[in-house]
Amino acid sequence: MDLNVIDDSTPVASEDGCSSGSCGTTDDQMSHLPDNIKEKVQNHPCYSEEAHHYFARMHVAVAPACNIQCHYCNRKYDCSNESRPGVVSELLTPDQAVMKTKAVAANIPQMTVLGIAGPGDPLANPERTFETFRQLSEQAPDIKLCVSTNGLALPASVDELSKHNIDHVTITINTVDPEIGAQIYPWIYWNNRRIHGVKGAKILIEQQQKGLEMLTERGILVKVNSVMIPGVNDKHLEEVSRIVKSKGAFLHNVMPLISEPEHGTFYGVMGQRGPSPEELQNLQDACAGDMNMMRHCRQCRADAVGLLGEDRGDEFTIEKIEEMDIDYGKAMKVRAAVHAGIEEELAEKEVKKAKLVSSMDSAAQPLKEYRPMLMAVATSGQGLINQHFGHATEFLVYEASTKGIRFISHRKVDQYCIGNDTCGEKESALAGSIRALEGCEVVLCSKIGFEPWGLLEDAGIQPNGEYAMEPIDDSVQAVYQEMIANGTLDADEIKLDAVSA
């Protein structure tokens, strides 16, 4: 039996349009978008699942101030042990940010996108944000720029934004209902006043929706992020997904609430839970029926630097950058060559994938249905299984089924704290890894130690090092086929029958 590869974000070239494998790919999910936007998305390092193994993005922290309060945010952001999303440690001036971006771009040619996401709201810091964008558009035109916002100041910023080399804007929209909004945002700062509760949430929602419409009218890509908060907006996000799609957002990304008392956030302190991996995946699947979902979004630390889950930020501190002598003109040439090489490799992969799909089309449907299962992969990029289990700071989770292979999500090992001596209770990294793998039945890695092997097996997760340095898609497919062949999935069926009988 041949399994084809389904990819949520990279369209598969298929002659006869909708084959069983390519149905539901980006092509269909983005059919509502104008052609120029579709094209932008398809070649984009941030939105193509394939490309994100090769390209990197970075953020600079130039925007400290914020104009609203979210219950999942703690505005005290100088804890050096923090690695929650949106939490950054080194605040930069626009000049420093430009210097850092050029230094990273020269040293990591795969870095193609520069974002400003905080630590506050970039548009509540218009001078610092736009000065950074203006200088980069001039001095490093080969870097795409992006910005994330809560949306409150968005309508007022659209004209200024459209002047720069802005590639896309991310708006965090957690609700379109002011009553729900009041449970997430206790107040906003608007027209020089603090406005509380439902009234404030209503203004915020209006500004978000207006900003979304204004950007899409001007042809600027808009991605929408939502934080899934169980019992607050979880049932409501499907509707949000429908609405933002109808207004032209090209992507909707549902992220889990990450909430622990030690974060000092309102939700953390009050004991609001985040969703389980299963709840998150169910919601993502429900929303994906409506529109394209970005599953490869990593809730990375906002100032993380490097490829897939690696953070080379320590190499680019302000002191170190000041000593570097960057010739950006020269760097741009190297970068162009590296990018061309990567694009060539990606194009080859596309061709291979298209062949797989067409061979699948001609093959008969599998006689028997087997249940889908989740597999985790340790990788440091290039689309290969090339990381030691013990070194993985995150895993990529894939779903294998008789319909093909589907990328599901990133699972970070330490979502908030690395637990060193200065930071209270220490949980072993291994326990953290095993917890991150909840729901997965197999973990593929290049190597793994004896102790973790045993503990993983005890947790019902089969470690597998046989596919070291092999391509991820092919390996996941091969393991799934092995499991079918050796009857692992049959056994389950019998068990299920017994239960239902």
Binding site: A65, P186, W187, Y189, R194
Partner: protein
């Protein structure tokens, strides 16, 4: 006539940009108000701007030392209702 920032300030930078009198500055461990420059926003705004954006309760105080944003005013939860609401949130 001046407001004051006490040491519960978390240095979030929100107040500094909205002050019409350029009275706020970043000190070593927190932000502070220069009492000579602060006008309490009189003539510029109906509400004191720093106290309208500061996210931390009991951090900005009036000239008598009374917090402009007392406990419970920003979360919207009066202290006596805290336990009840916490239980409700934990049952989600």
């Amino acid at each position: 006539m001046s407001l004051e920032i006490v040491d519960s300030c978390v240095s979030c930078w929100a107040c500094i940009d909205v002050c019409p009198s350029d009275a706020i500055f970043k000190a070593d461990t927190q932000f502070k108000i220069d009492a000579k420059k602060c006008t309490e926003c009189e003539g510029d705004y109906a509400n004191t701007q720093c106290a309208s954006i500061c996210p931390i309760e009991e951090t900005i105080c009036d000239s008598e030392g009374v917090p402009i944003n007392p406990l419970g005013s920003l979360t919207g939860i009066p202290p006596e209702k805290m336990n009840e609401i916490m239980l409700e949130i934990q049952s989600r």
